[in-house]
Subunit: 354 residues, 2 copies
């Protein structure tokens, strides 16, 4: 899922995303709640209509952003008090209000509010936080059931078919992850996410936790690894049972001039590309690679032209979406293991090593 | 002509420009000479190939930007000495080097180097400057003839069919404009531009100078008003004989949130658009107007999303290019006067006056 924080995937037009093959995008509840506001979006018919995107949308719960506010938030059993990064205004985010906001937004998949633990954390802290997340998940589910069964005047429902995903927490502790997976399933959701990874833990630890956790989640429902990751992370995590991802890496790195290619990572600022007439990735089908050279992209990037960000973003998202497409095909053809080996050999290094 | 200063029209992809109907774009010699350099662009096959745009390109001479450097340039009969705004490095721009640079770039239309007079100027200053521009124009033509007839090893010719336009100067003084028009035609160019307008003079004065000057230029060759203007300026100047324009207004104002529409100017930051579900211009065919609302564009603009600039730019360029298209049709159908009246009545005001 390309990340559309504030109702746009930075540097793209939606038709470019559609062409790149995006089937679903992510919207950030925290940002949209503060600006332009979920009340306004709900009144205008929901997020799809407001932003002009009619394919699926997943919204996070806002928890991750609120926890990232550090000094400007306070967590209690009830929820989180925080100050807006925009104007310092005070807000209250509870499991119930996280559900209400996402109901107004009318996303296709809503996420429960969970506590996002800092890494590293002790086992006790991780256990306590995980248990609170389970209690919050139950409150989120209760609130959703209430909205589904009895209309609330203060919450316009703009997408009656909205699914809700639970989130498994438990830090890097396998037994806590298993306990969380059980408890979250006991509540019962339309899908399950793994949260609290890709936050600084060593990569092998992340893969291990993904493996242990995914194994405890129902195969017939979506399993979603939140916030990951590199192209390698996608392939390694699918190998461990993951179906869905979101990450700012392809878009953010594009703006910084880093391109993900079938030959590895390519930093377009590098002087070696000054007169390089080749496309960024000769194997890529995207508009950028069909039309432009590394030399041109380097020039635009160094000149601070926003077109550089747009072209790089279009390429990186196409590369990520094509990778997922190739993974799906390899699984269908029964060649995933071979694909994985070859893919990891080709992309896990800088392009054009000398 | 949309303005592609550094090899990109800010906030757009070329396919969007093609869709909007752009038949030709402008590139800035000053910027491209400094970065990435006309030597590099020439070596890579010329500007069309370097930037991936195969429709026509017009390049200016670099003079206007150099004259704008104020303290950082010195003008003599030979040409201009200036310091780069990028790194302070010293450069020399002469009529001959302006031709050489544009020859390396391989644009379809190259402009002569002219002296850009500040406004206001005395008649004596305007006369002296105009006469120097005529001498420079002759030197530009001589250099081009030399390049056409005998290859120079230091100048790769990447577009053998390049046209060269002369520029009429003379400030706001009709007799000087006439003298300049005569002298420039006596040298002989493939087309003629009117320079030194849209620099602060009152609008009626500008129209008067355009009228007097255009009348003295050959109807069978392109007449190009440099650096103008508003939608009203386009229509008023075509009425006086102008065929071509370039202006940063549609792109720059788009980035600042000002939209040109069939109902007048619309500032997307205005609070009245907070929950306005209408497209920016209901009469417009562009992607932005087909897909997005004023409320959404306002939200993106206030959120600092670069997608706002991209969507606004796409609309404004479409509006400008459609205006030119409508002008051409009205001329063909013999209804230009009626069109002009109606157009000026509808666009010359803020949209949604209360």
């Amino acid at each position: 899922m390309p990340v559309g924080t504030q109702g746009a995937v930075k540097g793209t037009l939606f038709r470019d995303l559609e062409e790149a093959g995006a089937e679903i995008i992510l919207g950030n509840t925290y940002h949209l709640h503060l600006r332009p506001g979920d009340e306004l979006i709900g009144r205008l018919g929901g997020l799809h209509r407001f932003i002009g995107w009619d394919r699926p949308i997943l919204t996070d719960s806002g928890g991750y952003q609120v926890f990232s506010l550090a000094e400007r938030r306070k967590i209690t059993e009830d929820g989180a008090e925080f100050q807006s990064h925009l104007d310092g205004s005070r807000h209250h985010l509870t499991p119930e209000s996280a559900v209400d906001i996402q109901t107004r937004l009318g996303s296709d998949v809503a996420m429960v509010l969970d506590e996002c633990l800092a890494y590293p954390a002790t086992r006790d802290a991780a256990a306590e936080s995980m248990q609170r997340s389970v209690r919050w998940a139950q409150r989120c589910r209760n609130r959703l059931q209430q909205l589904r069964t009895s209309p609330q005047t203060e919450v316009i429902v703009s997408n009656a078919g909205q699914a809700q995903f639970g989130i498994v927490q438990g830090g890097v502790f396998s037994d806590l992850r298993c306990e969380s997976a059980e408890a979250t399933q006991a509540i019962g959701f339309e899908g399950y996410a793994i949260g609290g990874l890709s936050v600084g833990e060593p990569i092998p630890v992340m893969y291990e936790v993904v493996e242990v956790t995914a194994r405890r989640l129902p195969v017939a429902q979506p399993r979603y690894l939140m916030g990951a990751g590199t192209p390698e992370d996608l392939v390694e995590s699918v190998a461990r049972g993951i179906d869905m991802f979101d990450c700012v890496l392809p878009t953010r790195n594009a703006r910084n001039g880093q391109l993900f290619t079938s030959q590895g990572r390519l930093n377009i600022r590098n002087a070696r590309y000054t007169d390089d007439d080749e496309p960024p990735d000769p194997a890529c089908r995207c508009y950028t690679c069909r039309r432009h050279s590394r030399a041109y992209l380097r020039h635009l990037h160094l000149s601070g032209e926003m077109t550089a960000a747009a072209l790089n973003t279009l390429h990186n998202l196409t590369f990520y979406l094509d990778t997922m497409q190739r993974i799906r095909e390899a699984i269908e053809f029964g060649t995933f293991d071979t694909f994985k080996q070859e893919f990891l050999r080709s992309v896990s290094r800088p392009a054009h090593d000398s």
